[in-house]
């Protein structure tokens, strides 16, 4: 027992520091992916609820493709495909050296596309809850489409979509563990290195699981806080 504490500690021979750096990478990646995924997801949802059939088709294709692919495969497609793509562009520009793309950026884009395809569904169902009268009221007092969207629809939309988005955040947090497969030093990778060196696999992978649980619990607190804050500005019924 004391041995395990020393192994997980921050002292000499302890892996605490490297695991802590892994936590930092995981949290940074998830936080960096979130705005990207939310923004794309919102616009895809806008496309899906539009009356223009071509826009609907294009948005639905996006969701179908990125919800149908395994997350790990999307990650590899973005990572290796991006590498080949960047290499080709480099060759066109006359650069023949090897170009490596950053695994953090690749992970961010891959997880962002997956997140956004799920988020678009959450936003879409939130859009459907908001009655038409809200738009018409906005136009009636002379607001433009953009103003109506920003000042009337969006605040309500976020409040309705919040529980669904909270779930997606928890899924995103778990999905970040996949980036260890393309060599990013996240929680799972750092604990895997520690497990291989110390031969204490159960201890370290168990630690990784506990860290993810704790991150999930902390997120739930934050999400609940945001939920309460958002509910306060809602209409009292």
């Amino acid at each position: 027992m004391e041995g395990s504490i020393a192994l997980l500690g921050f002292g000499e021979g302890g892996w605490g520091l490297s695991i802590a750096s892994g936590i930092l990478v995981t949290v940074t990646l998830a936080l960096a992916t979130l705005p990207l995924g939310l923004a794309i997801g919102f616009f895809v949802a806008l496309g899906k609820q539009s009356e223009e059939p071509s826009l609907k088709l294009a948005s639905n294709m996006y969701t179908t493709i990125f919800r149908g692919l395994p997350e790990l495969l999307t990650l590899f497609l973005v990572y290796y495909g991006g590498q080949i793509g960047v290499q080709k562009i480099g060759q066109l520009l006359g650069y023949s050296g090897a170009i490596e793309i950053n695994s953090f950026i690749a992970g961010m884009f891959a997880l962002g596309t997956v997140f956004s395809s799920y988020a678009s569904e959450v936003f879409l169902s939130a859009f459907r809850v908001i009655p038409r009268g809200q738009y018409e009221g906005g136009y009636a007092i002379g607001l433009s489409y953009g103003q109506t969207m920003r000042k009337i629809i969006l605040p309500q939309l976020i409040r309705i979509a919040l529980p669904g988005l909270g779930n997606l955040w928890l899924i995103l947090l778990k999905d970040t563990a996949l980036v260890s497969a393309i060599g990013l030093a996240d929680i799972l990778r750092q604990t895997a290195v520690a497990a291989r060196v110390t031969k204490q696999a159960f201890l370290f992978y168990g630690t990784a699981c506990v860290i993810f649980l704790v991150l999930g619990i902390l997120s739930s607190f934050v999400i609940n806080g945001i939920d309460r804050w958002a509910a306060k500005s809602g209409a009292k019924r």
């Binding site: 088709l57 179908t64 149908g68 395994p70 497609l77 778990k174 563990a177 895997a192 699981c209 993810f212």
Partner: protein, 278 residues
């Protein structure tokens, strides 16, 4: 006066002209986006056509097929085992006994709160480090095999999710159904099997389908513990040939599989809810 009389023939002919379709901003955006998708798909088909390599296909197509079979059998087996395991977990979650319900709660919380890949590693590498103890109990043969470890972790994982689906579905059937059956003198077990379950399964069908699709997608990670499923053979083929089409074919196979399942589920849902359509 005769001007006002419109002959019936003219009335059918003279329709108002359909309003002109202006090139609004959404329409232009939509056409551009559909154009981009079309270009992407045409480009993909062209690339796969150009890159078609008889030798490569002959060499790796059979491995892809066997990998696909591994994926499907792994998912089916774990979903079925998970369904069996989920029943006691769901019952435990609904139990009035504090201890039982909190054990079930922690089970569900753990498996839903941690990444599947970490669970697979924990069981494969983690339990693998207790090889001496496992040998002593005679379970080493089971835990040495990556396929069985993947099966075990998937079954435990999906059991947690399925328990929540089952619980939610049983909860969704109103208490009046239980009471009605009780007032007719139907025993509790028969009530559950013949009255509650059929109604609960309608609610549960869609989440079960989603869970199946999530498992198929999630099963790709077994490639990381050296199980040769579809993803595993793809990784192998890519590491040998560095040909990107290996990944593209896999993407197409997974997409077809998931889409087929999704449509099957839509069909099943419309079929079993026929009596609910008014």
């Amino acid at each position: 006066m005769t001007d006002n009389v419109i002959s019936p023939a003219a009335a059918t002919v003279r329709r108002p002209p359909s309003p002109p379709k202006p090139w609004t901003k959404p329409r232009i955006t939509g056409y551009v986006l559909v154009g981009l998708w079309t270009a992407l798909i045409v480009g993909l088909v062209y690339y796969l056509f150009r890159a078609w390599d008889r030798e490569l296909v002959d060499k790796y197509a059979p491995t892809y097929l066997s990998g696909l079979w591994t994926t499907i059998s792994l998912v089916l087996a774990s979903v079925i085992i998970g369904a069996v395991l989920s029943v006691p977990v769901a019952l435990g979650r609904m139990s009035k006994n504090r201890i039982i319900s909190s054990i079930a709660y922690f089970y569900v919380y753990f498996f839903r709160g941690t990444p599947l890949i970490a669970q697979v590693f924990l069981i494969y590498y983690g339990l693998g480090s207790f090889s001496k103890e496992l040998q002593a109990v005679g379970l080493w043969g089971f835990f040495r095999d990556a396929w069985y470890c993947a099966l075990l972790s998937f079954a435990l994982n999906t059991a947690a999710y399925q328990a929540e689906i089952l619980r939610g579905a049983i909860r969704s059937v109103s208490v009046g159904q239980w009471e009605g059956a009780a007032s007719l003198g139907i025993p509790k077990f028969v009530t559950f099997r013949k009255i509650i379950l059929p109604q609960a399964l309608i609610v549960a069908l869609r989440p079960y389908g989603n869970e199946l699709i999530l498992m198929i997608k999630g099963s790709a990670i077994v490639a990381l513990i050296s199980v040769y499923d579809l993803m595993g053979y793809t990784k192998l083929a890519y590491s040998r040939t560095f040909d990107f089409q290996t990944y593209l074919w896999t993407a197409i196979i997974y997409l077809l599989l998931v889409e087929a399942l999704r449509h099957l589920w839509d069909w099943m849902e419309s079929r079993i809810t026929r009596h609910l359509i008014r």
